[in-house]
Subunit: 219 residues, 2 copies
């Protein structure tokens, strides 16, 4: 391997900017933050470390320690930023569809959630991280994400209530889990629990199946 993308970025920074990149602390902090986010999104939590981030940000790794107190602080910053992911990435209009019942709502939310998850590399990596490691950092990130998610559902719920006799909390967790697992494994290696997911038609089938589960769960 001769040219990694980080090499190219570093070259770009130093070649097109012979002026040594105006000394601006907050700008450098942002560069580090964005480098970390994009690296995590592209490469996953394996190989997610100080050296790689500094390379990509085009600065010295020392700055990561100085500005964020090391990887821990940086991860926390990313996690905190992710707590508002749902509101930022999922549209909150019903999309020209009638939402009359609690089931309609969950059905619609699942559809939107799957779509958003398909587009967002970073979020998928974070979810994969959560079920692969159990360090305090990743637990904090998971907690922030969960906070955002349930606040979002609560906001969207409005005055709608689930039918009696249904454990809505557990049911929604199961449905969300289904959506996550399908999207993650389908995108990572083209299969979801043994069935191939390549074409848009395959995706539509799975989306429909998940929505149908929600629909039937809430009568």
């Amino acid at each position: 391997m001769v040219h990694t993308s980080s090499d190219q970025e570093a070259m770009l920074d130093t070649v097109t900017n012979p002026i040594p990149l105006t000394r601006d602390r907050s700008a450098t902090e942002r560069r580090i933050f964005e480098a970390a986010r994009s690296l995590l999104a592209e490469a996953g939590f394996q190989g997610f470390g100080v050296n790689a981030i500094a390379r990509r940000a085009g600065c010295d790794k020392q700055l990561i320690y100085r500005y964020y107190g090391g990887m821990d602080g940086l991860i926390d910053a990313i996690g905190e930023d992710l707590s508002s992911w749902v509101e930022a990435h999922v549209p909150d209009d019903p999309g020209g569809r009638f939402i009359l019942t609690y089931g309609d709502l969950i059905e619609r939310l699942l559809e939107l959630y799957m779509r958003a998850l398909r587009e967002d590399h970073l979020m998928r990596r974070v979810i994969a991280w959560e079920i692969s490691e159990s360090t305090p950092q990743v637990r904090r990130v998971a907690e922030a994400r969960a906070r955002g998610l349930s606040a979002w559902i609560e906001k969207m719920r409005g005055s709608l209530t689930p039918p009696k006799g249904v454990d809505a909390i557990a049911t929604n967790a199961a449905l969300m889990g289904a959506a996550q697992q399908i999207v993650l494994s389908a995108i990572m290696n083209g299969f979801a629990c043994g069935i191939p997911v390549k074409t848009e038609k395959d995706w539509a089938k799975l989306e429909a199946a998940v929505c149908r589960l929600a629909h039937n769960a809430y009568i």
Copy 2:
């Protein structure tokens, strides 16, 4: 850290067996294989490498290259072994329960699958691996696992057929995905999609929710 478990194992091998461990190739191969399995189960695919495995097996890493052709061959061996995991770990009797419909069957299979997954560290690690990396090795492992899974479902199905108008393939994938995601994230950090899963009662609620999804999906 003074004593890792691998150190203890190595000591055990050399202390209790002052005779230098009879030169037996097939036994050594098995030791390596078991060391790899247990390491993967305990520590996950991070830190799953030649050095750690050799340490745990109490032999030189060179033997991994000689006998398995390196990590690739070893991983393939583990994957092949995993293709028969379901039959080996999930009881195939209905458990004193009446299985009359296709829905009954899937409901029961999901329950068994969740229970088995809760007990099996290795399988959970492999599933987490599958959605975290996309190397040829892990793809082969995933493929072997999927093969075993669908063959198992097919075997259990017998003459039962899903009701008309239901995409059983996609629905089952969604249900299996829900089960997997819930078990993995609950065990890894005590939360499943934002809700805490600590007590056996929490588990029962989620199990019930998943089974209920299956029940309602197949009318």
